[in-house]
Subunit: 330 residues, 2 copies
């Protein structure tokens, strides 16, 4: 049995390049006592991967040069020396960019396929969905009738945030980088307005769509868009920093010069680290699964094929070429 | 009776200049029904004045060209057609940079001289003291044993913040721009450490003095110092934005590129607008007055003389030439 894998070859300076990865093969190892072998079905391509390619971050170590690239994945247990897992179980976790993973089972989650198909466990029912759910509800505290503004709204986190905010009775505005994505947000996801940041003046559009100001700003993007949003904060606004995808490949990292607007808005800026909520994932999965089944929420996937596509796929995240949760089918 | 006044002559671009003001005289007006005449004793020179010289800000209108410069002042009622005020009352409020002010009494506060001398009512018992008290206690929520870091610590706000934090059982570190100011902070104000930001590497000094991180950062300064402080936040840190004196004369205004550190610190950034606490000033004045009388707190004043010194005095705030609360004796 052969394991095909994407290995980190170089630490990128600036934009991630396909040459930062090598594709290689190795013989699948024999599993030891307590271990399982997982045949990986899908890899998840998330913006967080860019940070993990660096030497180190504040909350998780960087991937070593020559090591399999860290990423979330789902797969099926095909061998087991661990009583907690039996052959045929579907699991998700940081299994890495490869076709087979040996694991001691720690940090893995069993995927309950009654909640949704396997791929959803990497998206709307996985880390991105949990980030949306807990970031919005626990850190943004949206109240019915308030205006929620989401950047990077056509991404899996952004579209989930916006749809949960709608379910909670908020007015929802989002930004995206194409007319098709904006149409999707309004027509499929039920957003009240979508702003194409590449074509429209975001500040003007916010003045129009959020005349009383933004009460919750959920930021996936950072950069000048964050500065613009700060100008439109309403009284008592909560800013939830989730990511800064516009900046992950840039140096210097853009600092928001309008940060003092949080003072006059009498609001606060905080952020979401999803791992803090692991023990509460089950209720979020139950809620989101129900909303999806009831048709109150939609999710969209963009699937590329083969481990050899991994280096190209990761660059798509930062150019906005994907439309829907980006997955790689092994 | 002649009123001498400092009038706004021009809106500064960048650093405030002495030529942005004219000194002129006018005859003191007769007071109408309901009005009082105040003989101003002291003017307060505060960083907020720089913002008021602009066209407008988010929370208060800019001063008109040709108008008396807005500033806090204290004085004595010398004529009264208002039953709420009698001759001899000492009052404080936005009386302006002049020697006599006509007022209808609205927005003025009577100074209780049993709480402290008249000048203190512009400093430690006035707006700066209130800003320190409510910003630290209501927005910073310091707990005993936590580490509080204050920028611009030798200023009236910073030194009051640090001393209140000490009274509340915190470890206190501050920055200032001279050896004499640092000595004052440690020897007179009881700070655990003072960092001369012009001579020392602030990040190295914070690593040494706050090895477990900063739990409350009270920022009066902004700029690169804010970015440095963000790197040293402890778990659950609160950042209280009070001001950004390093940036008020600059364009572009410096944005903190390390803002995402608030996310990994699981903290939040908020700020203080002191006017929100007007109804609660009495308890703050009681507390601070008691601490001063009991010798638990000290305050320092830097007094210049004569309205004609106003244009020069305002520039001192931004070059750090004053040492102690800057006041102008009329």
């Amino acid at each position: 049995m052969t394991n095909k894998k994407a290995v980190l070859a170089a630490r990128p300076e600036g934009m991630v390049k396909q040459s930062d990865f090598n594709i290689s093969d190795n013989e699948v190892e024999e599993i030891k006592e307590g271990e399982i072998l997982v045949a990986i079905k899908y890899l998840s391509l998330d913006p967080a991967l860019r940070g993990w390619m660096n030497e180190g971050t504040t909350y998780i170590k960087g991937v070593a040069i020559g090591a399999v690239m860290r990423c979330f994945a789902v797969g099926e247990v095909v061998k087991s020396n661990n009583d907690s897992y039996k052959i045929g179980d579907c699991v998700s976790g940081l299994l890495g960019a490869q076709s087979y993973a040996v694991s001691d089972g720690k940090g893995l989650t069993k995927c309950d396929l009654t909640k949704g198909p396997l791929t959803w466990h990497l998206g709307v029912l996985g880390m991105p969905g949990m980030t949306a759910y807990f970031g919005l509800l626990e850190k943004g505290n949206p109240q019915p009738g308030e205006t929620v503004f989401v950047s990077g709204a056509a991404g899996i986190v952004g579209s989930t945030v916006g749809q949960i905010a709608k379910i909670k009775g908020c007015k929802v505005i989002g930004t995206a980088g194409s007319a098709a994505k904006c149409k999707y947000l309004v027509e499929d996801c039920g957003f009240d307005a979508a702003i194409n940041y590449k074509e429209e003046d975001v500040s003007e559009a916010l003045s129009k769509h959020a005349p009383d100001g933004v009460h919750v700003f959920y930021d996936n993007v950072g950069g000048p868009l964050l500065d613009t949003a700060l100008l439109h904060l309403g009284r008592g606004a909560r800013v939830v920093i989730c990511g800064a995808i516009s900046q992950y490949n840039k140096k210097p990292f853009y600092g928001p010069s309008n940060y003092m607007k949080i003072v006059t808005a009498r609001g606060y800026i905080n952020g979401i680290i999803v791992f803090d909520y692991i023990s509460e994932y089950p209720r979020a999965i139950d809620d989101i699964s129900s909303w999806l089944k009831e048709g109150k929420m939609k999710t969209k996937e963009h699937i590329v094929k083969g481990i050899e596509s991994f280096p190209e796929a990761i660059t798509m995240l930062f150019t906005g070429k994907n439309f829907g949760k980006l997955l790689l089918e092994v």
